[in-house]
Symmetry: C3
Subunit: 259 residues, 3 copies
């Protein structure tokens, strides 16, 4: 594990680079995501210069993924159409070497969904981004650095765990991200959007661990900026879109709390 000031500067730098590349390259990010999150997710991606697409149909999804630079598979409001779309999309991503992120939403609420998520994890998502309850449901143990690292090694993936402090690990390297604000948990689809942003960062940063940490720094810092002006979760949801759009390297460097 890297330490203190150096690790912090290194990860803040990774976030700055990712942010700049998103704006310069406008990666296409295909999102198989839940019905509640689609609009907010698209607006988060657009605010950062990315091009979102959200098509689910079996006829078209492979084509959209093949033309994209990253893929999100989010299991919220899961149904037969999304299941089939996920399988086709992941197959295309594997063939075309397009990086993808799995967000196993609410696997703690549905055994069917947890089983499906485990099957998808065997298909090697580049990143699995989830919260504490979801990790516990998938891994059968409470989240800790050790449990998360073991899960990452076993499944050859990078884990991004959201919480009061976020934790990112590829099994060898670890980063904690202490940015963010409690209002983020009061806006629907905030975690879903963070996963979409993680996918976007994978499109512009080949080091998956750095990409995942960068995404969580970017959304967390934007959340802090937004919270300073927000009067509640309604204005917060608006302000975080503005904050992502206006975010700059100086703000990222000044505010990043990574270790």
């Amino acid at each position: 594990m890297q330490h203190s000031a150096q690790a912090r500067d290194d990860m803040a730098q990774a976030a700055c680079i990712a942010l700049e590349r998103l704006r310069a390259r406008s990666p296409r990010v295909h999102c198989i995501t839940n019905a509640v999150a689609q609009n907010f997710t698209a607006n988060v991606l657009l605010a950062l210069g990315c091009v979102p697409s959200m098509t689910l149909s079996a006829e078209e999804v492979a084509g959209f993924v093949a033309g994209a630079q990253a893929l999100l598979v989010n299991l919220g409001t899961f149904d037969a159409e999304r299941r089939q779309a996920s399988e086709l999309a992941i197959k295309t991503a594997a063939e075309k070497k397009i990086p993808w992120v799995l967000d196993p939403v609410f696997v703690d609420r549905s055994r069917t969904r947890a089983d499906f998520a485990r099957m998808l994890i065997r298909r090697s998502p580049n990143v699995v981004r989830l919260n504490h309850a979801e990790f516990s449901a998938l891994a059968g143990k409470t989240p800790s650095v050790e449990a998360l690292a073991a899960f990452a090694r076993e499944n050859r993936t990078v884990m991004g765990l959201s919480g009061e402090t976020d934790l990112v690990t590829d099994g060898e390297r670890h980063a904690t991200v202490a940015n963010g604000h409690p209002l983020m948990s009061r806006v629907t689809a905030m975690g879903c959007a963070a996963s979409a942003l993680t996918a976007a960062c994978l499109a512009v940063e080949p080091d998956t661990f750095r990409a995942a940490a960068a995404a969580l720094v970017i959304i967390g810092v934007a959340g802090e900026v937004a919270a300073e002006k927000a009067k509640g979760p309604g204005s917060f949801a608006v302000a975080i879109i503005d904050a992502l759009y206006n975010l700059d390297a100086a703000t990222l460097k000044a505010r990043a709390k990574v270790s």
Copy 2:
């Protein structure tokens, strides 16, 4: 019917208690709702501390309902998936004694949907929340206190009628709620969110009549607070989420217009 000051204080008190309990208990509210309303409904529930879920799939919906404390069945953008989900969800709600609300959106525009709504009403929703045109389509008569009370008694339910003045009745007790603002009708899904909030209140208030009235007071007062700062329906939709988040007992007591 209770009268004047006492009734008003009693219902304002019911709204205060419901608000406090929502925040303290964070009930899970499963929503089978229309595609237009999903995001706004989730944000209204989250602003008040509830935990929304929106899954529709036949495989999972029963599990989500079984793990929830209340259920909303909203008939907007109705389709085969939502029809099946409704039937499974209501069956689970009946088995587990989970209260549920029916919102028969646009039954005045579709005979198929009106027939389905009538069938659902026979399955004893705790509350039916609708507008004037929807009541007329279902009951075959224009809404009045008498017509609404008769409908409530016949169907052993509580009716919540939205309009310039809202009307709540269980067939014996009646309350009118004169809170709210005209901008509420200019934001999509406002009525849908009110129905979701009614479901949430059922999770924390065993007296269905009081729960339904409390929900309409809460959303109506929040609408008034929001309108004071809004410049149009866009900023109003944001401000009402903030207002719900910041709402307190003093504001509810000062503003409640119940009789």
Copy 3:
């Protein structure tokens, strides 16, 4: 082609008349549109006094269209349900002489969808509203006044091309609309909402060419007003809804950039 000051005044006047009629007549606009756009589209229509509906189910869509004054068919997030809904809706629109708009979203990303769009264009949409990439995919040539006019004549439709400057043509008459703001391309569903507004204008203005130009002037001017207060795409999306709600003839006349 009409010229300069006269053409400008004439089109600004068309926008003023359309705006006034939308508010006075509250047309019902049925929208078959993508999952990302449904909420924002409904709020744009409501802000202008229209009554949106979004039902897709094969059982109900014909009834909703028959009761509406205009129809939007938007091909975003296209799937089997939307395909069937489109066919039923267009059949009803033809029978009842209800005007309709086609928005062939992302036909540049999917050959299947482009083929379906071409088939729909043979069924005589009153307006086809699209962007440069979508026109190129459908017409096999880069957009120009001549290419657009030829396409309009061949297909007996009115073309509305969005871009830095919008172009409207029925094959004989042409208008360019230079209103709008770059933030419009940073909010998801902005083009989809412009198409829905075009459909709404068809409900109140029998001259299709004028209706299409009016819609693009209205949304473009609202975008400019919104941009003056917005701090990014989040607040812009809110402000444009407010701007549409508050828009008046004086603002339209002062700001319309039509030639």
